[in-house]
C-alpha cells in the first residue's frame, strides 16, 4: 500500500476513519478557537471607561497646550482604557485638549463653558466611547476682579478738530455711568508713528493727523496673573492700542504706562547722579524726567543741584545685541566722571513693599534713571522723604 493510501484511503477518509473534509473543519476549529481567544486577549482594544473626574489646578504648562485660546480650567480624568488620541467634550462643547498620561489617567483642558452641570464625553473619532454623566460642574461666573488705574499714553490718529476739542474732566460715555475719565492732556502735536525693525525703531510723521498725550482713569480686569485687561486689550503689553471705554469712535490711546488711579504722594528725593562730565554739564534745575508721558502726575523734577565733584571712574558701553537683545560685548575706558547731588520732587505711590516711582521701587540705595530729550543720567537714591506719610511697611 502506498503512503497516500495509508494517510487518506480511496474513500477520502483520513486513516480510514474520518472524512478528509470533516477532519479539516475539525482541525480548523480546534486551532482557531484558542487562536481567536489568544488574539482577543492580545489585541482587543479595551473600551475606555471613566471612573472619576476631578478639577485640577492650572499651571503655566497648560497655557502652551491651549495655544492662545482662553483657558478656563483643567479636569483630571481617571479610568481605564484611555488612549492618546481620544477627543473630549464637555456637554455639547469641545474641550481644547485631551492630554493622555496613561491608560488610567488623562487631563482635559477646556475654555469658556456655560455655567451648569455637564456630561464629560470621550470620542474615538466621531464615535462616543465613554461618558461620565453630570461629572463637570461649571460655577456661575462672578464679576471679575477689577482695579482702577490711570492709563497714560498718546491719543493718536486725531483730526485737528477732535484734537483741539478734548477737555480734561470729560467722562465717557457722556451720559450714564462713566467708564473712563480723561484726567490729563498734553499739547496738540503732529502725529508720529514708531516703526520697529530688527536694529531698533524709527519715527515717521503722518500727514494731516494729530496726537496728544493723555491720561484716563479706567477700571481694568486683573483676574489674570500680572495682567490688566480691558476687553481683549492687555494694558501691560508694549504699545497696546486702547479705545477708552465708552469714548466715541475715533479716540485711540497708544498705552505707554499704567499707574494707580489714586493721586501720588508728593516726595522729595535726594539722588547722587553720576555720569561723564560732558553729560553732567547738561543737567539743570527745572529739568523733568520724561521716561514716561508727563501726564501721569508723577514726573520727577530737579529742584536743586549741589556738591559737584569730579573723580576717575570706569565708563563702559555695551556693543552689539544678540537674538535676545543682550549685549554681546562691551568697550570700556577710564574717564573723568562727574558726581552731582540732586534734590528732586516726584509723585510716589505706596506699595506693599515700600514706595514706588512710576514702575520702579524707590528707596535709599536703589538706582534711578533720569531721562530728558537732551541727556540720560543715572544715579543712586540717597534718601526719600514723603510729605505727610506714615512710614512704609
Amino acid at each position: 500500500m502506498s503512503r497516500r493510501a495509508g494517510f487518506i484511503d480511496d474513500q477520502g477518509r483520513v486513516f480510514g476513519r474520518i472524512n478528509l473534509f470533516d477532519a479539516a473543519i475539525g482541525l480548523l476549529v480546534l486551532i482557531l478557537i484558542p487562536l481567536a481567544y489568544v488574539a482577543f486577549l492580545l489585541f482587543r482594544t479595551p473600551r475606555p471607561r471613566i471612573t472619576a473626574v476631578t478639577p485640577a489646578q492650572l499651571t503655566y504648562i497648560e497655557d502652551r497646550a491651549a495655544g492662545g485660546s482662553d483657558l478656563s480650567g483643567k479636569l483630571k480624568v481617571f479610568g481605564s482604557g484611555l488612549r492618546p488620541v481620544l477627543r473630549a467634550s464637555i456637554g455639547t462643547q469641545e474641550a481644547l485638549a485631551f492630554i493622555f498620561e496613561s491608560p488610567a489617567s488623562a487631563d482635559v483642558l477646556f475654555g469658556n463653558i456655560e455655567p451648569g452641570t455637564h456630561d464629560l464625553i470621550l470620542y474615538d473619532g466621531v464615535q462616543e466611547v465613554a461618558r461620565a454623566p453630570h461629572a463637570v460642574t461649571i460655577p456661575p461666573k462672578g464679576k471679575p476682579a477689577t482695579a482702577r488705574v490711570r492709563v497714560a499714553g498718546v491719543l493718536i490718529d486725531l483730526d485737528a478738530e477732535t484734537a483741539k476739542a478734548l477737555r480734561v474732566g470729560t467722562k465717557y460715555p457722556a451720559a450714564g455711568e462713566a467708564e473712563s475719565v480723561l484726567v490729563a492732556l498734553g499739547d496738540v502735536m503732529p502725529d508720529v508713528r514708531t516703526l520697529s525693525q530688527p536694529g531698533g525703531a524709527v519715527e515717521v510723521s503722518t500727514s494731516d493727523r494729530w496726537q496728544r498725550a493723555a491720561a484716563f482713569i479706567v477700571d481694568c480686569d486683573v483676574s489674570a496673573s500680572n495682567d490688566c485687561r480691558i476687553g481683549s486689550v492687555s494694558l501691560t503689553g508694549v504699545g497696546a492700542l486702547l479705545h477708552p471705554p465708552g469714548a466715541p469712535g475715533p479716540l485711540l490711546l497708544r498705552v505707554q504706562e499704567i499707574v494707580p488711579a489714586t493721586p501720588p504722594q508728593p516726595a522729595q528725593v535726594r539722588v547722587r547722579l553720576m555720569g561723564p562730565v560732558t553729560v553732567a554739564d547738561l543737567v539743570r534745575v527745572g529739568d523733568r524726567d520724561e521716561s514716561a508721558p508727563d501726564v501721569d502726575g508723577r514726573a520727577a523734577m530737579i529742584v536743586a543741584l549741589n556738591g559737584r565733584q569730579i573723580a576717575q571712574g570706569d565708563l563702559a558701553i555695551p556693543v552689539g545685541r544678540d537674538a535676545d537683545l543682550q549685549p554681546v560685548s562691551g568697550v570700556g575706558a577710564t574717564d573723568r566722571v562727574a558726581i552731582i547731588d540732586a534734590l528732586m520732587t516726584l509723585g510716589a505711590d505706596r506699595t506693599s513693599t515700600g514706595w514706588q516711582y512710576r514702575s520702579h521701587p524707590i528707596s535709599a540705595g536703589r538706582p534711578l534713571t533720569f531721562v530728558t530729550p537732551r541727556y540720560v543720567i543715572r544715579g543712586i537714591v540717597q534718601s526719600v522723604t514723603v510729605a505727610d506719610a506714615a512710614p512704609a511697611k
Binding site: 497516500r4 487518506i8 482594544t45 482604557g81 488612549r83 469641545e94 481644547l96 493622555f100 560685548s329
Partner: protein, 451 residues
C-alpha cells in the same frame, strides 16, 4: 515531496500568512521586501560567502522580529508607552497618529492639530510614518520592522561597498558588528528617525562611489540623481544633515587628492601647520577663532547643566550660570584652544571606565571597551585600507568627521555623547575591521592563517 505534503504545507503557509497579515500587515510587507532584498544582495558573492551572508542577515532580521514581538507581549497595548524604548518614540508615534487623523478627516481637538503641525521636531520621517499608517492603520510595531528593514538595507549596502574595496574578511567583520552590536540593535528596532537617516546617508555615499567608478554617463547621471534625491530627503531629517553629508564627502575627496602624491600630502600638512601658526601668532586670528567657537562653547555648557552625568571641557570657572547667554563665555584664545583639545580627547575617551557613574554607563561598559578597540584599530585600518582602495577609505573616514567634530565640540553630557557617537560607528567599523585583519595577519602564524 508528495502532493499531499505540498497541500498541507501550502494550507499551513496560507493560514500563517493570513494570520500574520491580520496581526501586522506592515510586518508581512516588510518581510516580503526583506526577502527580495536578500535575494538581490546575495548576488555576486561566492557560494560559501552567500551562505554565511544569508545566515547572518536572516539571523539579524529574525532576532529583531523576536525583539519586537517581545516588546509587544510585555507592553500594555493602546498606551502611549506601548513598547517604548526611547523617550522620543512616544512623541513621534502619537504625532504621526494625529497627522494621520488630519489627513483622514477624523475630528480632533485643537491641541491635536497644534501637536500635529508644530515646528518642534518636524521632519520628513513623521510624514513617512504617517503615510505608511494611512495605508495599514496605526502600526507601532510594524513601523519598528520597517525601520529594521531600512537599517539592514543600509548595512548590506555598506557590506557590498567595503567587500569590493577591502575584501570579504573586513566586510564580514563589519557586517557582524553592525548587525549585532547591542546599541545599534536597539536603535534599528526603534521608532526614531535613525534608520531612515542611516539608509539615506549610506545611499548618498554609495551613489557617489558608484558614480565616480562608473564609466557610463547614463549610470553617472542616474547616480547623481540618487545623490540629489538622497540629500533632498535628508534636508530636514536632522539639523544640518545635508551640510554634514556634503562636507563629509567634500572632505573625503580633498583627503583623496592630497594623499595621491607624497608632495601633495607634504604641501597639505605644511599648509595646515602654517595656518595653525598664523592663528597662534596673530592676535586678530586668535580672537576670531575664540569667537567662532563661542556658539559651540555655549551649547556644551547647556549640556553640562542638564540632568545626567556631565563632563566639562572649559576651565572650571566658566561653569557658574546655568542659563548663561553665549556672550558670557568670553574665552581667551588659550582657553579656547584648551577647550578644543579637551573636546577631541573626551570624544574618544569619555566615559573613562573608572569614572562610570550610572548603571546605564556600567551596562554600556563592554560596548565602550569595544569602542576603544575600534579607535585603536582605525589608524592601521586607514593605512591598509588606503593602499587597497583610497577612494572608499577616504570617504568612509571623512564622511564621519564633520559629525564627530560637531558632537565633540557641543556635547557635555555622557549619555548624549554616547548616543551621538554611535552615529559614526557604522562607517568607522569597516576601517577598524581592516585594521583588525592586518593585525591578525601580523600576529597569527602563516600556517594558522592558511588553515
Amino acid at each position: 515531496m508528495s502532493n499531499d505534503r505540498w497541500l498541507i504545507w501550502a494550507v499551513a503557509a496560507g493560514l500563517f500568512a493570513g494570520i500574520a497579515y491580520s496581526l501586522s500587515p506592515l510586518t508581512v510587507w516588510a518581510a516580503v521586501a526583506f526577502a527580495v532584498m536578500l535575494r538581490a544582495a546575495g548576488r555576486g558573492l561566492s557560494p560559501d560567502e552567500r551562505v554565511w551572508f544569508v545566515r547572518l542577515v536572516v539571523l539579524a532580521f529574525v532576532l529583531r522580529i523576536v525583539a519586537v514581538a517581545v516588546l509587544f507581549l510585555v507592553s500594555p497595548h493602546d498606551s502611549q508607552g506601548s513598547g517604548i524604548l526611547f523617550g522620543d518614540e512616544a512623541y513621534a508615534l502619537t504625532r504621526s497618529w494625529r497627522m494621520r487623523n488630519v489627513l483622514l478627516g477624523v475630528p480632533q481637538l485643537k491641541y491635536d492639530y497644534m501637536t500635529a503641525f508644530e515646528g518642534y521636531g518636524r521632519s520628513n520621517y513623521l510624514w513617512v510614518m504617517t503615510y505608511i499608517q494611512m495605508l495599514v492603520g496605526p502600526a507601532p510595531y510594524g513601523l519598528r520592522v520597517v525601520n529594521t528593514l531600512l537599517y539592514i538595507m543600509a548595512v548590506v549596502y555598506l557590506f557590498h561597498l567595503t567587500r569590493a574595496a577591502f575584501g570579504p574578511a573586513p566586510a564580514f567583520g563589519g557586517l557582524v558588528v553592525l548587525l549585532f552590536l547591542p546599541t545599534l540593535f536597539f536603535w534599528s528596532i526603534s521608532l526614531l528617525k535613525e534608520s531612515l537617516y542611516f539608509v539615506l546617508t549610506v545611499l548618498v555615499l554609495a551613489a557617489v562611489v558608484g558614480g565616480v567608478r562608473s564609466r557610463a554617463w547614463a549610470v553617472r547621471a542616474a547616480l547623481a540623481a540618487v545623490v540629489v534625491a538622497g540629500l533632498w530627503a535628508l534636508r530636514d531629517l536632522r539639523d544640518g544633515g545635508v551640510v554634514l553629508a556634503v562636507s563629509g564627502l567634500a572632505l573625503g575627496f580633498a583627503l583623496l587628492l592630497i594623499t595621491r602624491r607624497a608632495w601633495t600630502a607634504g604641501v597639505a600638512v605644511a599648509t595646515v601647520l602654517l595656518a595653525l601658526l598664523a592663528v597662534a601668532a596673530r592676535p586678530a586670528l586668535r580672537q576670531s577663532f575664540a569667537e567662532r567657537i563661542r556658539p559651540a562653547v555655549s551649547a556644551h555648557a547647556g549640556h553640562v547643566f542638564t540632568v545626567g552625568h556631565a563632563y566639562k571641557l572649559m576651565d572650571e570657572g566658566y561653569y557658574v550660570n546655568p542659563v548663561a547667554s553665549p556672550h558670557e563665555f568670553d574665552l581667551t584664545p588659550a582657553e579656547s584652544a584648551r577647550f578644543v583639545v579637551r573636546a577631541v580627547v573626551s570624544y574618544f575617551l569619555v566615559p573613562l571606565p573608572w569614572k562610570v557613574a550610572t548603571n546605564g554607563e556600567l551596562t554600556y561598559l563592554p560596548e565602550h571597551l569595544f569602542w576603544y578597540a575600534l579607535i585603536l584599530l582605525a589608524p592601521a585600518g586607514a593605512i591598509a585600507g588606503f593602499r587597497r582602495d583610497p577612494l572608499v577609505t577616504c570617504l568612509l573616514i571623512a564622511y564621519v568627521l564633520p559629525t564627530a567634530a560637531v558632537v565633540a565640540l557641543t556635547t557635555g553630557n555622557v549619555g548624549t555623547l554616547i548616543r551621538h557617537r554611535t552615529l559614526i560607528v557604522p562607517y568607522l567599523v569597516w576601517v577598524s575591521a581592516v585594521g583588525f585583519c592586518v593585525l591578525m595577519r601580523r600576529l597569527l602564524p602563516r600556517d594558522g592563517l592558511a588553515s
